[in-house]
Amino acid sequence: MSIAFEKVEHMYNNDTPFSYHALKGVDLAITKGSFTAIIGQTGSGKSTLIQHINALLLPTSGKVTIDDYVITATDKPKKLKPLRKKAGLVFQFPEYQLFEETIEKDIIFGPLNFGVSYEEAKSLAAKALHQVGLDTSYLERTPFDLSGGQKRRVAIAGILAMEPDILILDEPTAGLDPHGTKEMMALFKSIQKLGKTVILVTHDMNHVLQYCEEVIVMNHGKVEKKDTVSNIFKDQQYLNTLGIDLPIITNFILALNDNGFNIDSSINTYERLIKAIGGELHG
């Protein structure tokens, strides 16, 4: 078990009139090497939850365990850096964190902070930039002239270059074009295949269906459900109460089945769906 939450509570601005109870007794376990989606409405505590994984936030009470690191309200690991390196967190709209003159300098910033040598950091930067789909000619360019989508890729490369064991992504594709979105999601999937744990906060159920294995449903600061992707999407009524629509593929299968078909509703790719209907994929 690589990540475990035990009765984790989090209060923002504790002891002030502005206090806000963001997490209410979260119990949770995320398996090593899994691709887990965290879904739920805005304000349900998703972002608060993920910030506990690299100890940016400390629980008000309860315990978070990440492998050997134990984080409670009173004692956090003395040195946070190894934990921050282990769990790489990509914030929502991470392009705002760019600050260096060149893209290379920005990407090596993280690795250098974690004590990687300059030469090694540079090769990590080139590799990470390639991973996010930009060629090495970008290394010497300034990040501020890039388009929004390219900035996003550079910011994500900055985290990938840290080579985290756990990659946490807070709506990484929000505002990207459909093509870029697909590329990014495929990238995260390929990182999971290297044996890393990937945690994805998202509102896009199509991504959940196509790329994820486990789903955590958050509602009003609590983990309401944790199950496999296919089990979660079986309970349409429950998801509707949370304002969550089914993925396009699942919706389509349900509509077909209502009209006499009998197709497995856990199908998660267009290829398999087409095969199940009995057609052929052209082009």
């Binding site: 601005n13 940016l56 790489g88 967190l89 705002y96 964190q97 902070n113 900055g158």
Partner: protein, 266 residues
């Protein structure tokens, strides 16, 4: 960052909250004048009691006032200690390392300490009991007679209200960027001097970029809605002066003028 309670509006129902913001600004100015008159400890006792009564009426917990004073404490102590060593009136009391301490210095320094604490306390009560937008409305109202001499009262009020409006946003942004950079291994609390400089750079540059972006977006949004500072406009919210404001103004004026008169006579 979470402890930035200084001057933050605290929404609770109280007598002070319901007073007219114009009254609060005028009273604060009168009080500031009075507090700089040397009326001896009796004078400060009277002003102190006035501040205490206002604090109680505002129903703001004392610990918030202390929290607000805390960041200022260094400055207050610095000024106080400086004055103890520099003022050379009254009789020489004793000397530390050939620096002579005078009785007048101790007295003056005590006054300065009391003055600053009173001013910070009252200002904190004012900003915690008044919505920032109400304050700017009041500033515009109070400055509006100057419009006759082409003083840009509305523009200044608009600038103040925009600035106030963006303080929480920028704080939020600062927190966000700090967290993002902390995730990339920046340690804002520890590290060598050069590392600290570097970590501040990684915070300040993104913050400036986003502040400029916000400013540009806001300017565009205002322009696209045809904002014209000279246009005659009505207000959604207008301030109404009530009997309680007149009573409060009389009380503050009487006490403060009393203290000033005392200091002149003494």
């Amino acid at each position: 960052m979470d402890n930035m309670t200084f001057g933050k509006y605290i929404p609770i129902p109280s007598l002070i909250h319901s007073l007219d913001p114009r009254l609060k600004i005028i009273s604060l100015i009168i009080f500031l004048v009075a507090v700089f008159f040397d009326a001896g400890f009796l004078g400060y006792l009277i002003l102190g009691i006035l501040v205490l009564i206002i604090a109680i009426c505002s129903r703001i917990q004392i610990k918030y006032v202390f929290k607000a004073i805390k960041p200022m404490l260094f400055m207050v102590l610095f000024l106080t200690i400086f004055n103890i060593f520099l003022i050379q009136t009254g009789e020489a009391l004793f000397s530390i390392f050939s620096i002579v301490i005078y009785s007048g210095a101790l007295l003056q320094s005590a006054y300065i300490f009391i003055r600053l604490v009173l001013i910070i306390t009252l200002t904190t009560i004012m900003t915690s009991s008044t919505k920032p937008l109400d304050l700017t409305l009041a500033i515009e109202d109070l400055l509006s007679p100057l419009k006759k001499v082409k003083f840009p009262a509305h523009e200044i009020a608009m600038m103040i209200s925009i600035a106030l409006r963006f303080i929480p946003d920028l704080l939020e942004e600062t927190k966000r960027i700090m967290k993002a950079q902390a995730s990339r291994g920046v340690d804002f609390n520890e590290g060598k001097f050069m590392e600290k400089i570097k970590s501040i750079v990684s915070l300040v540059i993104p913050l400036f970029i986003s502040a400029f972006q916000r400013a540009e977006e806001l300017a565009n949004a205002m322009e696209s809605r045809n904002y014209n500072p000279d246009a005659p406009r009505t207000r959604y919210k207008s301030l109404t002066w009530q009997l309680q404001d007149t009573v409060a103004l009389i009380i503050v004026t009487v006490v403060c003028v009393g203290v000033i008169v005392m200091s002149v006579i003494l």
